[in-house]
Symmetry: C2
């Protein structure tokens, strides 16, 4: 059974005084996806850019960390030092998907120096940008993150299998698929239309799909050169239908886009459940 | 008369539907300082790193834009496109003081392309880091920000006079002093102890001072090499006393530091009003 609700920035039992000791125990994690941020390009007022947390099969995985996501992630964890993360996946090097990764580095480097490195799966430009932000050099970053390039052959994060594929965007973007423990979740990152999306989201219980919806943006052609390298909400629905996904989570909304209009556009192409990403949205899984 | 209160992320009259049209009119701006973020190094759960907005003399100036500050700035402005900013000052290139500057670039580039460039005052490494985050190159950044290096000779932002001086930190940090319209405000950015702080904050109505308070941090010497390049709260109080400042705003708290203890440490050295920075804190000026 699936249910949706909003979760607060501060989980029950969290308090400012106790935040250092309040990290969740991985073993007690619920099976759910929590949205840290739902905006593409830059955050709307009071919101954040792309970021998600998957808790399933006894592990907690962070997917993307755009502008404004880190304080929300730490609140969800109930941990100033970002305790309780089993893996981080970053789809591509645009700042709206990865800028707060450096803040996560700092939380671990200053808050838990000497702790085991966290597996980080990301295309090479993500690593390069992270290193460009860190004045103390590559060695310290390596002590915080155990880097694995994407796309790559299937890998394991705890009991989950991570598959990845290159999708068309302005720079290398890895679509990812996590499966195990009776669940398959897929996430496009940012992508233009591509037949491979049907494979990425094949039969997924939850398909998180870029719905930047350029169709809603009154811009001059000069502002959007080249081929479409993000999806419209309609195209997100088409990709989900082609994949035979069970549920679609539309996300990466362009600031000021009409999200209900995006939902309607996607619904014209996809007959399954459609959710709109929203900061703090919790999608119960299984 | 001075008063303090918390301001919400969404000012009165702000609504999601109206956010695009809801920019404040500069002419009606209150004389106040609003804190966007109060944390040093990385944000505590639900908080943000260094960021402040000064509204005085009919202009609105942003001081620093660390992790998590941009969504709060846009909420304060009531503008997805960041309308209503007359100048931006960034003290130094550490990400906890400037990472969301790139998000502000995006808000203007995608949201108000062709609008007049916003004056940006910052040391050279800030500009270099900003350009390193922008794949579309220097020309587009120049169309959004009119860059002025710091420290520099006095400059004007509307009716306010901006003075700056180099202060000791891990990389070039510009302490700044804004005066005009019956007000003097000074801000250290990050700094080690330095006699020049007395000059920076000389007679200031409000002195915003780094209080990272290493004294509270149980760390090994190896984790803090070299001379002290941030202030303790006690040293912040001493600098304010030497400057003869009227009010002291302690900020840049190290995550998990005890802020009340920081206040007590500062009060042992500074007899004037002491405030603790807090996300959303509004300090009424004049």
């Amino acid at each position: 059974m699936t249910s949706f609700r909003r979760v607060g920035l501060r989980p029950p039992g969290w308090s400012r005084a106790g935040q250092g000791a309040g990290a969740c125990q991985t073993a007690s994690v619920t099976s759910r996806l929590v949205v840290l941020g739902s905006c593409g390009a830059w955050p709307e007022p009071g919101r954040a850019c792309s970021g998600y947390v998957l808790e399933h099969g006894g592990v907690r995985i962070v997917l993307d960390l755009g502008y404004g996501t880190l304080p929300r992630l730490l609140a969800l964890l109930g941990s100033t030092a970002a305790d309780g993360i089993d893996g981080v996946i970053v789809t591509h090097a645009h700042p709206d998907h990865m800028i707060d990764l450096h803040g996560l580095f700092r939380a671990r480097w200053f808050g838990r120096r000497g702790a085991p490195a966290i597996p980080l799966f990301a295309p090479e430009p993500v690593r390069a940008r992270l290193l460009g932000l860190e004045d103390d050099g590559e060695d310290v970053v390596r002590r915080v993150f155990d880097w694995h390039p994407l796309p790559a052959a299937p890998a394991a994060i705890g009991p989950l299998r991570l598959e990845s594929m290159l999708l068309p965007h302005y720079l290398p973007n890895a679509g990812v698929r996590l499966s195990g423990g009776g669940l398959t979740l897929a996430y496009t990152g940012d992508t233009g239309p591509d037949p491979a999306l049907a494979e990425l989201g094949r039969g997924a219980d939850l398909f998180i799909v870029d719905a930047t919806d350029r169709a809603q943006r009154p811009v001059s052609p000069a502002a959007l050169p080249g081929p479409a390298l993000n999806l419209t909400a309609r195209e997100a629905g088409e990709a989900s239908a082609a994949a035979g996904a069970r549920r679609l989570l539309l996300t990466h909304f362009w600031p000021d886009n009409d999200r209900q209009a995006s939902r309607a556009s996607a619904a014209a192409a996809f007959p399954g459940d459609i959710m709109l990403a929203e900061e703090g949205l919790e999608v119960r899984l299984g």
